[in-house]
Amino acid sequence: MKRTIFVGALTVAGLAAGVASAATLDDVKARGTLNCGVATGVPGFAAPDANGEWQGFDVAVCRAVAAAVLGDPSAVSFTPTTGQTRFTALASGEVDMLARNTTWTFSRDTDLKFDFVGVNYYDGQGFMIPKALGVSSAKELDGATVCIQTGTTTELNLADYFRINNLSYEPVPVETNAEAQQQYLAGACDVYTTDASGLAATRATFETPADHILLPEIISKEPLGPLVRHGDNEWGDIVMWTLNALVAAEELGVTSANVGELSATPTSNPEINRLLGTEGELGGMIGLSNDWAKNAIMANGNYGEIFEKNIGENTPIGLTRGLNAQWTNGGLLYSPPFR
């Protein structure tokens, strides 16, 4: 009985929160800053630099949205969230959106009452092994000791994968990525498994990265994307189409270098014109000014530029585009048309 009342109270409070913040766009405009929830520190995705400025791949999404809505990519107030606090921060209205390498899953989208507005990074669970082990496929890992972070989906994925392939393994449970790194380098486990982007970032910090390889098998789907509260579709649209604008800009060849020039006068490509607001009234349809996409692209460049700057092959993290290439290049990035 008491439990019911408690849950009821929570629900009422939750509903009240939902009603009061129905017009997130108005709140953001009135406040003059976007409250964006980010991770407390994931290499390449979100981290404060020496001046306390947040940098990273997820951070760039926040900045693009701020630029689209407020015209200023620096008008973002970053709220660092942990794995535990992220969803409450969003549900309670403490942040307007979450860009925190969060996997899009069924229950998060439905049961937790959030809306994932897209995918900004297609990740998947991979394996890292020392080259000296002489293994070239995860199928050869029978009997291996595996460093694995406890309480994560990666732990479950690992168990599934080894069962499906009829392999045995011995888990070495670790708490954090830092601990895993130490254990792996000390030889306490043969294999370290986590999201492939995390493995690449970890490997980049090793003294001799070349001595370690990532196995080709990716054993799970981890679509990471920004999310907003359920129930405010106007706001969800804005975040979704800002992300789409970044992707479409890359497809259309609009970069931070030429966006100023392309948006000055209408070009011969009508889709670029509609995107950059020199033709049509797309901005007005989502309650923004017509140069919203131009501002978003000017903030950090298009999707490809953001990728290259933060996690691409020329950074220490050195991720290849892989699944995150444009659909025209065999990847999964596919923005709906701007029409």
Binding site: A9, G14, V42, P43, P80, T85, E94, A178
Partner: protein
């Protein structure tokens, strides 16, 4: 000596032997060594083993420290310098501290405003001095009372009328007590609590805004999200320490009270808080309150954490002080009664001074524990020093640096906690009144 032997003794020496040095094994360093390190074969073996262990540890850590690299832009550069200059010997990369020490101390506080927390920190010692050392002029106490408001204003900035308006709440409390106590002292006490609460909740902010619009005096605002690092530990730790001691005293007295409701509430509170981990209370502060408070309420996260930490520490403090009260002989209570002192006077003049003195080690223990517990805020996304080590590692430049950051954090905490411990030992010696 009897005369009997006068003729039987052939020779009696009548001058003293010159004073001789003690034997070599009974003086100086050798004596010390023999007594302290080699006083038996078991101890001798233990000494040799310990010396070897110490040597082994130093031999491994020493060169790493000696080869420290203090200037580099990234861990990679550190490694290059190590290979070029130190021939690849293990070297600490303290360059990360050189680059990020300001962030570790101040969090994301705007760098052109560093002077404000610095000033607040210096004034802290001015404010603490009259409390810690009783041979200073008592008038300094007024500054100590004002200090929390000054520090708040310096750190958070904004309009000066906000701290003034909060301070006015205290004046209102005193005034309310003065007026209402004429009717009954109980009504006076109730008014003294209720009036300032009403003032703070409903009137303080609008009044401050109104005055500010008339006479704008203010400095640049810094918000709670910008405060971090060592600064947040000091703010939370200090606020917790200062508030938990009086609350703890009240709770300890309440627990010993004969009044049923007071006693039950105190026991319930203490046992509930002591039965719950601090991290649970912090999660309550950061997550649950968000659901219960009306939407749009801007209840500062740092304030929420301070409240929770204070509640937590005061429960422990209450039990520490209850230990001191229990250790007092019954005769002291009876002596106070026989002097005709009422309850509060007896507590103030006889019981508390002795009970608190007995509890000093326990109280300081709680203080130190509380200060170190402030690192737990990392779990609710507030960047204290430990949290910042994590986010510093998340930058691609410094990914992979562990020990150097942890050593720095440990050193800063050690300095603070060791100072507290040394002060408490000094205080204990000073208050030592037993006759031995």
């Amino acid at each position: 000596m009897s005369d009997l032997h006068a003729q039987t003794v052939a020779y009696v020496r009548d001058t003293m032997l010159p004073e001789a040095e003690p034997p070599l094994t009974e003086r100086g360093a050798i004596k010390w060594l023999r007594e302290n390190l080699l006083s038996g074969w078991v101890n001798a073996i233990l000494t040799v083993v310990s010396l070897y262990l110490i040597y082994w540890v130093l031999a491994h850590i020493g060169p790493w420290f000696v080869n420290s690299i203090w200037v580099a832009d990234s861990l990679d550069e550190c490694r290059q310098i190590r290979d070029a200059v130190n021939n690849g010997e293990p070297s600490a990369c303290f360059a990360v501290i050189t680059e990020r020490w300001q962030q570790l101390l101040y969090g994301f506080y705007p760098s052109h405003l560093y002077w404000r927390p610095n000033l607040a920190f210096v004034l802290l010692f001015v404010a603490l001095a009259p409390i810690l050392f009783d041979n200073l002029p008592r008038k300094l106490m007024w500054f100590s009372l004002l200090y929390p408001f000054i520090a708040f204003w310096l750190v958070w900035g904004g309009s000066i009328w906000m701290p003034v308006s909060v301070l006015a709440g205290l004046m209102i409390a005193i005034a309310a007590f003065g007026i209402m106590a004429r009717f009954s002292s109980l009504i006076g006490v109730i008014a003294a609590f209720a009036a300032p609460v009403i003032w703070w909740l409903f009137l303080a902010a609008p009044v401050a805004d109104a005055v500010h619009s008339l006479i704008p005096i203010g400095i640049e605002t810094a918000n709670s999200k910008q405060i971090g690092g060592f600064m947040i530990s000091v703010i939370i730790g200090l606020a917790g320490i200062v508030l938990s001691l009086p609350i703890g005293v009240v709770l300890a007295l309440g627990r010993q009270s004969d009044l049923f409701i007071v006693k039950t509430i105190c026991i319930g509170f203490i046992e509930f808080i002591r039965g719950v981990p601090l991290i649970t209370l912090l999660f309550t502060a950061s997550l649950l309150l968000n659901y219960f408070l009306p939407p749009g309420t801007n209840f500062d996260i740092v304030l929420r954490v301070i409240i929770m930490v204070t509640l937590f520490a005061s429960a422990y403090m209450a039990e520490t002080i209850r230990g001191g009260l229990a250790a007092l002989p019954k005769g002291q209570y009876e002596a106070a009664d026989s002097l005709g002192l009422d309850y509060w006077k007896a507590q103030r003049l006889i019981i508390m001074p002795q009970a608190l003195k007995i509890s000093i080690p326990g109280i300081v223990n709680t203080f130190i524990g509380l200060f170190k517990d402030t690192t737990l805020v990392i779990f609710i996304g507030i960047f204290d020093m430990l949290g910042l080590t994590n986010s510093i590692r998340a930058s691609t430049d410094w990914n992979g640096v562990y020990w150097e950051l942890f050593i720095f954090v440990a050193l800063v905490f050690w300095i603070c906690c060791f100072s507290m411990s040394q002060y408490s030992q000094w205080l204990e010696r000073k208050l030592q009144t037993e006759h031995r």
